[in-house]
Subunit: 407 residues, 2 copies
């Protein structure tokens, strides 16, 4: 019995001031701090009375498309997680930039469908995070589904207090390297999960594959990647359907692959953030400014209105047509791709030509592709391919990270 | 302090008969069974005196190419695991079908390079497994790098005694379904890792990706896969270089992609075992006999000598040439592929034609490819591609599973 209490309390970082147990194993007494009382009771209750069930306590920041989709998926999957894996996911707090809502007691969990629809008080992230830490429940996970900087400022405090952090928000990991390193070290030393697989390629297994390769002693030589769904679609469509650049951009916009302002995609800035996270995960202490980025936008295009920009798109058609024809004449194809050369520790993003037998040439639609060339995968790379954006798959990837974060 | 002792002892399943601690937190006393003494000391030592280091205790069965390569990789990576991850991998036992060697005390670990070269007693798997369980050390992992049935008979006993099992050996998971289910349930209920990612596609992230999809509530609709490196090479080379079937088989044999007797590859039996494991991991309680397997070998070819078989290969050339030409006339290409239809719960293996824009058509060399079509990845599948065989990558995948098995 004592062994199981040890695990239940120890796993949840509960400090015990004094403990006594007789050799009868009929009773055991422990003294814990008042603020650990409910956490200790919960942990022991989970261990003994519902011994096959593990409660997981979620705090969600951000209720945009990804956050909402995640809640929908969690709600639908709840009975199956409980039955097949003994996992009971409970929603204790939800906040967006306007409203928030959280429950002081585990018994009063929030509904998964639209928890902020009726109730809620004006949002205050500081007090939301404080409530999360103060709730002091085992298996607490802070899920940041926002795209803002504000929640990332609290990651340190959360990790320091044994609250796991799961997020598709690239902000924290594409800031200065020292901040990235600090967070990851904090996760390691506190043995508290910090998971952000969905920052690169949504739910595609990219960062986890990279970590597996590195931990098992492989040497990463080169990472080649198509990391923008919209740009993938634009160049695949131009190549496969022989249409003009401006037509491909408009088709991508029509299908919802681009941001409302297509310049946000064409600038390559979003790809640059993903490349930075990939390079850092490959062990390169790189800053954003170290990446050589060839934007698809001339400086002039960045200052006009969206309408003016779209009207001017055809002026770029001839230049793209010529580059595609040039590549084709050399039996190659053109992609907006990223290359991380791990030997020279350099990264570049821009239009590149690849031979017709390169894995990129098999791309279609808005797929992402990430090819790892390593000491072990030297002749043929390890390749991961598939849709790398969209609310359903991104939320699913966050969901998978939540499962991984459960201790 | 008590919290950390709780975790250290509880994590390792050590039962405590009596414990007493004063409120000074200067001392704590615990009574454990004699056979738990060194395990408890080790666990507490790791937690406090080398608090950043976690000892991992390996028992290796099988010293063929994969086992030897794994030891080489572990030896080379040892200082880095210690420095960057605080993991100290120790080899306590090694056995092959002739010799074995194991150390009763953690202090006397075996050398990673050729541990059976000098010492060793005649092999006896029963006593090897008993020694592993009796050593009763925290983070014990039994690694089965054999291709035999014998070690798999001990998985139950090992898992029941909190010893994790990591293996590239397909035997245990391609037997009758009830045995597969029993092992996996034992792993779940004992919270003891049972990891066999390398059974399908070596180190490619196949089973872990499938598990992530399922846990997060996706519905697997279809899995299409090229799971044999040798057959992938044979059909890719015929398609890309326009050579005959017999020539492609001989080229694959020359490059070491086939077994010494190419019929072992051409029969499709190895692919069938992988398909069974994939289907079961996708939630289908399937038996080997449920798989529709179209072998590339006529019955007559199965009874002659290797030489006779190889001499007769050209007699099949015309039939393959015609099938490839047929496919090509329909703008398709021919692959020896497996399809698992998760809706109808059926699996088939054989020669199939695929449209030119199917991901398979981008294959080259001896690559494997696994494409998951799911409710979320419905229009474009999630694809994993790369070399799916070979000692280096298989051992690396086993290594990654060992890292995952560390608690």
């Amino acid at each position: 019995m004592a062994g199981r209490i040890f695990r239940a309390l120890g796993d949840n970082g509960i400090n015990v001031a004094a403990i006594a147990q007789g050799s009868s194993e009929r009773s055991i007494s422990a003294v814990v701090a008042t603020h650990d009382e409910s956490k200790a009771l919960n942990a022991i209750h989970d261990e003994f009375f519902l011994s096959k069930t593990k409660s997981v306590h979620l705090w969600l920041a951000g209720t945009g498309l990804i956050g909402k989709t995640l809640l929908k998926q969690l709600k639908r999957q709840h009975p199956i997680l409980l039955r097949d894996y003994g996992i009971d996911v409970k929603l204790l707090g939800v906040a967006n930039s306007r409203k928030m809502c959280h429950e002081p007691h585990e018994a009063d969990t929030l509904p998964m469908d639209d928890p902020l629809a009726v109730d809620g008080i004006p949002s205050d992230l500081d007090s939301f995070v404080s409530a999360c830490i103060a709730s002091n429940l085992p298996n607490s996970i802070f899920v940041d589904c926002s795209a803002h900087d504000a929640p990332t400022e609290h990651y340190r405090e959360l990790l320091s207090n044994s609250v796991a952090v799961v997020t598709p928000n690239k902000r924290a990991f594409s800031r200065e390297y020292s901040f990235y390193e600090l967070l990851n070290q904090l996760g390691t030393t506190r043995r508290t999960p910090l998971l952000y697989e969905t920052c690169v390629g949504a739910a595609l297994p990219v960062l986890s594959t990279l970590q597996d390769l590195i931990k098992s002693g492989d040497t990463i030589l080169r990472i080649e990647a198509i990391l923008s769904g919209s740009l993938s679609f634009i160049f695949n469509t131009m190549r496969q359907n022989g249409i003009l650049f401006s037509e491909a951009v408009m088709e991508a916009k029509k299908r919802g692959f681009t941001e409302p302002d297509p310049r946000d995609d064409l600038s390559g800035m979003d790809v640059a953030r993903k490349v930075l996270i990939l390079a850092r995960n490959a062990g390169i202490p790189m800053e954003q400014s170290d990446i050589r980025l060839e934007s698809l936008l001339p400086q002039s295009a960045q200052e006009c209105s969206v309408e003016t920009f779209i009207n001017q798109l055809p002026s770029a058609d001839e230049s793209f047509r010529a580059r595609i024809a040039d590549a084709s004449a050399n039996d190659q194809a053109l992609f907006f791709s990223a290359t991380i050369d791990c030997t020279s520790r350099a990264a570049s993003i821009g239009l590149e030509s690849f031979a017709k037998n390169h894995p990129f040439c098999a791309l279609s639609g808005a797929d992402n592709m990430i090819a790892f060339t390593t000491a072990r995968y030297r002749e043929q790379p390890l390749v991961v391919q598939g849709p790398g954006a969209g609310a359903e798959v991104t939320a699913a990837g966050v969901f998978a990270d939540i499962m991984r974060a459960i201790r």
